[in-house]
Symmetry: C2
Subunit: 143 residues, 2 copies
């Protein structure tokens, strides 16, 4: 058995948590958790999406998203309404407050990115490697 430091899984797990921890302080000033933040990122990119579409992009299921979205609704950042054409679907839409948070959140992203000390090119390389890895793990993992 390899030592802990040689486990790629742990390197990912540790890096992901360290990154989330980096976002925690700045995001708390916006009243957001990290998972709430990435939901907002999707909405800033494509407003008015269904829970299913959010889940597809974030790889999160309704068990995670439903309560999270209810909290965003409570915070008056999104509205949740059924699609009139298909009452099974729930459409999530940004409120005015939700839109307004975009610029502050962008500052947070830049701020945390600076803390990584990465060059833009190194970050892009790492980003690509991680996307490839994620894709391969998903295809090769029997569900």
């Amino acid at each position: 058995m390899r030592p802990l430091d040689n486990h790629l899984c742990f390197a990912l797990y540790a890096a992901s948590r360290a990154m989330t921890a980096g976002y925690r302080g700045p995001l708390s000033e916006l009243g957001l958790t990290y998972p709430q933040f990435i939901v907002m990122v999707v909405l800033w990119q494509t407003d008015g999406v269904t829970v299913g579409e959010l889940g597809k992009q974030l790889q999160l299921d309704s068990g995670t998203l439903t309560p999270l979205l209810k909290r965003l609704e409570q915070a008056n950042l999104v509205t949740r309404q059924r699609n009139a054409d298909d009452e099974r679907e729930l459409i999530v839409t940004l409120t005015e407050d939700g839109h307004a948070l975009r610029h502050k959140a962008n500052d947070v992203s830049e701020q945390v990115f600076c803390r990584t000390g990465l060059e833009e090119s190194a970050a892009m390389q790492l980003l690509g490697d991680l996307h490839d890895l994620t894709a391969r793990l998903r295809t090769n993992n029997p569900v």
Copy 2:
């Protein structure tokens, strides 16, 4: 605001969850969750450590470790006993069953690594990059 795909934080978050998902099936046959597995990796490496030492290596606090270790104890994989020289400390020690699990777990690691489709050299490169990133995030994150 960058799209979701340009966020390094999300690439890490997605990759880490995909990796954990890759371990889920094989580990469930050993009766372990992923966090329980990494605790066991530390113990296979250094048996008889305190909760504090585990927490230092894994960057997890007692709020996470205490219940997790109680479950490992329930599963008869570890014992938990106070240090007689300092009753504040709790020493976690592998049981016979805990030791015995090591080989099966090693197979799981190899199996999941194969699914990444990575060359050994590429994996080492990525491992190093992730360690660096984690270190930088930790130093630059005011706690």
